[in-house]
């Protein structure tokens, strides 16, 4: 039993890591597009964010999984579900991260940009050295929430038939007619979240040397 759950956990962790690796940077593009002075681009970004935050992730996963077949008649191999899963999670989380980045960037007072401009910092230097470090601190709590949510959201991959930890627990529970697999899976999710919370706390502590 533990072996099956452990395999499930590996997949869960993979979905988690792949989503972060894809969505953390993609969110930057989403935020930049959303803040762009070029109206059409910012509108597209708004629509993107609105749709991805306004519809269930489970439905988005299904759409990506089966969309290619129903729309274009494409026959995709059995590996497609893993790609569909990664794409769905990354697109969805990039929308959330993008909004967090944007609100963080827009919360930095104009005076910071002006002080930097008068001192002769270039726009890139201003962003990298003055704005970004302050944004990081400000968005940490919101990012922490999203990352914790992601741990649990990984279980949605079960709708694609991916045997991550939740699916594994479900199968085991049915086979052994027992609640124990669910309980163990719950415990593992919880410990996973605890570890992440600890890491987040440390990062926040490290940024607590100043307040603004």
């Amino acid at each position: 039993m533990m072996g099956i759950l452990a395999d499930g956990f590996v997949l869960t962790a993979e979905i988690f890591v792949v989503t972060l690796v894809g969505a953390l940077p993609l969110g930057v593009l989403v935020a930049l597009a959303r803040m762009s002075k070029f109206k059409p681009l910012s509108l597209v970004a708004r629509l993107y964010i609105s749709v991805l935050r306004g519809t269930p992730l489970m439905l988005q996963l299904m759409a990506i999984m089966f969309g290619p077949y129903y729309l274009f008649g494409m026959q995709l191999g059995s590996d497609w579900k893993f790609y569909a899963c990664a794409i769905g999670f990354i697109l969805n989380y990039a929308a959330y991260f993008g909004e967090i980045y944007r609100s963080g960037i827009q919360s930095i007072p104009r005076g910071q940009y002006e002080a930097a401009a008068v001192l002769g910092y270039t726009r890139a230097q201003t962003f990298m050295k003055i704005v970004l470090p302050q944004v990081m601190k400000r968005i940490m709590p919101a990012m922490g929430n999203e990352i914790i949510t992601l741990v649990k959201d990984t279980s949605l991959a079960f709708v694609l038939g991916i045997m991550e930890m939740f699916s594994a627990a479900k199968a085991l529970a049915a086979r052994e007619v027992s609640m124990i697999p669910y309980a163990i899976a719950a415990l593992i999710y919880w410990v996973f979240c605890l570890v992440i919370e600890m890491i987040l706390n440390r990062v926040e502590k490290r940024m607590a040397y100043y307040h603004d």
């Binding site: 002006e114 001192l119 002769g120």
Partner: protein, 253 residues
Amino acid sequence: MAVVTLEHGKKSFGQTMVLKDISLTVNEGDVLAIIGPSGGGKSTLLRCLTLLETLDAGALSYGDIAVAREEAGRAVYGSKDVLRQAKTRFGLVFQNFNLFPHYTVLKNVIDPLVVVEKMPKAEAEARGRELLAKMGLSGKEDMVPCELSGGQQQRVAIARALAMNPSVLYFDEPTSALDPELTREVLRVIRELAAEHMTMVIVTHEMTFARDVADQIIFMDGGSVVERGVASEVIDRPQHERTKAFLTNYQHG
């Protein structure tokens, strides 16, 4: 020699003309105070002089650098390179300091030197420590701005501006965010700079200070220079009705 010259500067926001044909020259070693009621365009003037805003019309130069020249009634700005060069000629001290909160006091002062001027770090540090000492902030180098009083923060901001070795230092109501005691320590530092013949343009509501420290005073109202002259003359014997009314208000308020 003129450090900064503005000729016929005009600036509008939408339909409202905020600067109506302003000219001024500040010579090396001069201290110019700008006084006037709020909304009169004082900050906008400083923001145009420090390139945070662009003039609609007029000519602006820093010594031999022509930042903007007037062409067919419009201000035409020089290339990026010219503007970058011009930016090394002035510093600006803001009303609310605008220190970088995530940097230590020392780093606030030396980071621009290292990043913008490419000065070696050790040299920048020596310069930063010296300036902070001059501002009475020795021992505060490793603190962050939020650990300092407003008066101390403003003195860090002055050190940061001075570190870049500007030809002229602008102040936009440097003490308006401070209570009287902290105001005194900041004004004392500015007086010391004046005694060293630092070229300065100071927007202030501290009339006594303006009279003592400035050579010239400009009284601005409604986007125009209403009166200008020798500091003590303008404060003690204003010629225009609007200047008189403004100063009377201040003496009673």
